[in-house]
C-alpha cells in the first residue's frame, strides 16, 4: 500500500522563474515527512511536483527525476491521471465540490474510476469517512451539501475524498492553516492513524505541528528573494528539532529567521 518516493535533482520552474533547484531526497514508506521553511522557499512547489500538479499552472515545468517505487512519474509514456490517482492531495483551503453532497464528494474519485454500483460506493464512502474521523458527524446527512460543513469538517471531508480512492501517498499542503486549533488537532490525530497505511508528506508553517506529527523533516530555504528554493537539511524530526546539523535550520526553528 505505501510507497517509497525518490527525488533526484528536482528543479521546478514557473515560466523562466526557477522556484526550486536540485532537490534530492527520499521519503520512506509509511512515514510522515514534514516540509518546513519560510514562505516562498518552494516547499509547496516541491510537494506539487510529486503528483504532477505543478504543471497545471500555465508555463510551469519540472526537471530532474522523481520516482515512486522506482517508476519515473515524469516518464514520457506515463498517464498523468494515473499518477494523481496513486498520489492523493489535500489542499491548504478545504475545497469540497460546492455543488455536490457530502456523499457525492467522497465518492467523486471513485466515480472517475468508473465505479457505478451504489452498494460499492456506499461502502467505500463509509470506510473513507470513518478513516477521516468524520463518519459519526455526517452519517445522518450524507445528502446535504459538503460546503455546508464547518471548515474543519470540510477539510476532513477532503481527506476522506482523497483516501476514498486508496492512493499510496497522501500529500498535504498546509492542511490546517485555515483551521482552528481543535480542528487542527483532529487532523493531526488523523495523520497519525493514516500513516499505518499511507506515506504522508505535509507542508506546514507550524513548527510544533511538524514536530508533533512527522517522523522526518526537510528544511527548505532561499538565499534571498528571486533565488530558487533549496533543500538545506533533511533528517529525523527529532534530530532537526534538537540538534540540527545546519546553522540556518537552527535559526529558523528557533525563530531567529524566517
Amino acid at each position: 500500500m505505501a510507497t517509497r518516493i525518490e527525488a533526484t535533482n528536482v528543479t521546478a520552474y514557473y515560466g523562466s522563474f526557477k522556484a526550486i533547484e536540485n532537490i534530492t531526497l527520499t521519503v520512506e514508506p509509511k512515514t510522515v515527512t514534514a516540509l518546513i521553511g519560510p514562505s516562498g522557499c518552494g516547499k509547496s512547489t516541491f510537494l506539487r511536483s510529486i503528483n504532477r500538479m505543478h504543471e497545471v499552472v500555465p508555463g510551469a515545468r519540472v526537471d530532474g527525476r522523481l520516482t515512486i517505487d522506482g517508476q519515473d512519474i515524469y516518464a514520457r509514456d506515463v498517464d498523468v491521471t494515473a499518477v494523481r490517482r496513486m498520489i492523493g492531495m489535500v489542499f491548504q483551503r478545504p475545497n469540497p465540490f460546492p455543488t455536490m453532497s457530502i456523499f457525492e464528494n467522497v465518492v467523486a474519485g471513485l466515480r472517475l474510476n468508473g465505479v457505478r454500483r451504489r452498494s460499492v460506493l456506499e461502502e467505500a464512502a463509509e470506510r473513507a469517512l470513518r478513516a477521516a474521523n468524520l463518519w459519526d458527524e455526517v452519517k445522518d446527512r450524507l445528502g446535504k451539501p459538503g460546503a455546508g460543513l464547518s471548515g474543519g469538517q470540510q477539510q476532513r471531508l477532503c481527506i476522506a475524498r482523497t483516501i476514498a480512492v486508496e492512493p499510496q501517498v497522501v500529500l498535504m499542503d498546509e492542511p490546517c492553516s485555515a483551521l482552528d486549533p481543535i480542528s487542527t488537532l483532529a487532523i493531526e490525530d488523523l495523520m497519525f492513524r493514516l500513516k499505518d497505511r499511507y506515506t504522508i508528506i505535509i507542508v506546514t508553517h507550524n513548527m510544533q505541528q511538524a514536530a508533533r506529527v512527522s517522523d522526518r523533516t526537510a528544511f527548505f530555504s532561499i538565499e534571498r528573494t528571486g533565488e530558487p528554493g533549496r533543500l538545506v537539511e533533511y533528517d529525523d524530526t527529532q534530530k532537526i528539532f534538537s540538534n540540527p546539523r545546519e546553522k540556518r535550520t537552527e535559526d529558523y526553528i528557533t525563530g531567529r529567521f524566517g
Binding site: S39, G40, K43, S44, T45, R48, N51, M53, V56, P58, T81, A82, V83, R84, R85, G88, M89, F91, Q92, R93, N95, P96, F97, P98, T99, M100, S101, A108, G109, L112, N113, K144, P145, A147, G148, C158, R161, T162, V165, D173, E174, S177, A178, V203
Partner: protein, 375 residues
C-alpha cells in the same frame, strides 16, 4: 500552493488593526460623515472643516456636536437613485395601460376565437384573428434555435475558457462579441439571400430520405421555412450564450478545478465535475437571455420565414410566422382594429417571455442550497 493568494485564510489578520481605531476616542466615529462642501459650511463659520475630519481635535471638547446638514450630497444622491427606480416603474405601468387600452377594443371586435383561430385577418370588416399559430411559431423557432445554439455555445465557451491558448482565446472571444454587435437586419438579409439556398437543398434532401418523419414531410416548396428562421436565430443568440457562459466558466474556483485534477480527473472530467456543475445556474441564465432575444427577434424572422399563420410542425416547408415578425410585417397596412390586434399579440408575447423568465428563475432557485454555499 503557498504562493497563490488565499482569501479567507488571511481574514484573521484584520484583528490587530481594529484596536487603535477604538483607542482614539469616540470622536473617531465622526470621521464617517461625508466631507463638507464649502457651501454647507457657512452657517457654523469657523467651526470648520478640519474639526470634522480630525476626530482627535476639539470637536467634542467644544461642546456642540457638528449639526447634521439639511441638504447634503448623501440625501441628494439617495433621492436621485430612488427617482430613477420609480421612473422604471412608471414607464412599465404606462406601457401596460397603453397596451391594454389599445388591445381590448380590438379583442372585442374580433369575430373569431383569439386563442384558437389560425389566421390573421384583423383588417376585414368582420375582423378575424387568432394568436395560436403565431405563438406556436414563436415558441417553435426559439426552441429550435436554442437546440442548435446552446451545445455549440457551450462548446465555444469551454474552448475559450479552458482549452484555447490565452492569445487565441482573447482573439476568438473578441470575434464572438463582434458577432453580437451585428444588427439583426443584416442577419436577416444574409439568411434570406445566402443561407436560403443551402437550407433549401438540405430541406429537399431531408424530405427525400426522412420524409416519413412529420417535421420533414410535405410536398414543398421548401427553404423559406422554420428551419431557415431558426438557423439564423441560432446564429444570433450564439454570442450571448457564449460570452455569458464563458464568464461563468472562468469564475470556477481554481481550488475546485485542482481538487478534481488531483483526484486523477482528465481535463474533460474536471470540466464535468467542477466547471459545469458550478456554472449550471449561469448556463441556465445565459440560455434564458438567449431565449429572450429569440422570442422577441423581429426583423430577421420577418425576412426569412414564409409568413403563413397556421400551426404546423413541419419545419422545412415554406411557412411559419412569429408574433414579432407578424407585427413587423402587418403593421404598415393595419387599420385601427388591426393595430389593436397586433398590440394584443404583443401582450401575449410579453406574457410568454414572463413565464419563460419565471421558469428559469425557478430552475435556478431549486438547487440554491448547493449553489449559494458555492460562493
Amino acid at each position: 500552493m503557498g504562493d497563490i493568494p488565499h482569501r479567507s485564510a488571511d481574514a484573521g489578520t484584520g484583528g490587530p488593526h481594529v484596536t487603535p481605531g477604538h483607542a482614539r476616542s469616540a470622536g473617531a466615529a465622526l470621521s464617517v460623515d461625508p466631507p463638507v462642501t464649502p457651501l454647507d459650511r457657512t452657517p457654523d463659520g469657523a467651526g470648520g472643516h478640519t474639526d470634522d475630519l480630525d476626530p482627535g481635535a476639539g470637536a467634542l471638547g467644544g461642546g456642540a456636536l457638528p449639526r447634521r446638514r439639511a441638504l447634503d450630497a448623501e440625501r441628494v444622491f439617495q433621492g436621485f437613485t430612488m427617482a430613477a427606480g420609480m421612473a422604471v416603474l412608471g414607464v412599465i405601468v404606462a406601457i401596460a395601460i397603453f397596451l391594454v387600452a389599445r388591445a381590448v377594443p380590438a379583442l372585442n371586435a374580433n369575430t373569431a376565437n383569439f386563442f384558437t383561430y389560425q389566421g390573421w385577418l384583423p383588417n376585414e370588416s368582420e375582423p378575424r384573428f387568432g394568436i395560436g399559430a403565431l405563438a406556436f411559431g414563436t415558441l417553435l423557432t426559439s426552441f429550435l434555435a436554442l437546440l442548435m445554439a446552446v451545445p455549440v455555445a457551450l462548446g465555444v465557451a469551454l474552448y475559450l475558457s479552458h482549452y484555447a491558448p490565452r492569445r487565441v482565446g482573447t482573439v476568438l472571444g473578441f470575434l464572438v462579441d463582434l458577432l453580437a454587435a451585428v444588427p439583426s437586419v443584416v442577419f436577416g438579409l444574409w439568411g434570406r439571400d445566402y443561407l436560403y439556398g443551402p437550407v433549401r437543398d438540405l430541406s429537399v434532401w431531408l424530405n427525400t430520405y426522412l420524409g416519413w418523419i412529420p417535421i420533414f414531410g410535405g410536398d414543398g416548396p421548401f427553404g423559406r421555412s422554420i428551419l431557415l428562421g431558426s438557423l439564423v436565430l441560432a446564429i444570433m443568440v450564439l454570442p450571448i450564450i457564449t460570452s455569458l457562459s464563458r464568464e461563468v466558466f472562468l469564475q470556477t474556483p481554481t481550488a475546485n478545478e485542482e481538487a478534481a485534477l488531483a483526484l486523477g480527473a482528465t481535463r474533460w472530467e474536471m470540466i464535468r465535475i467542477a466547471v459545469l456543475p458550478y456554472g449550471r445556474p449561469g448556463i441556465i441564465g445565459a440560455t434564458m437571455l438567449g431565449l429572450g432575444r429569440a422570442l422577441g427577434e423581429t426583423i430577421a424572422l420577418a425576412m426569412t420565414l414564409g409568413i403563413v399563420s397556421t400551426i404546423s410542425i413541419n419545419i422545412i416547408e415554406n411557412g411559419g410566422n412569429t408574433v414579432a415578425a407578424n407585427i413587423a410585417n402587418a403593421f404598415g397596412e393595419a387599420n385601427d382594429v388591426g393595430r389593436g390586434a397586433l398590440i394584443a399579440s404583443g401582450l401575449v408575447l410579453f406574457a410568454i417571455t414572463l413565464v419563460v423568465n419565471m421558469t428559469a428563475r425557478a430552475i435556478i432557485h431549486r438547487r440554491r442550497e448547493f449553489t449559494e454555499t458555492a460562493a
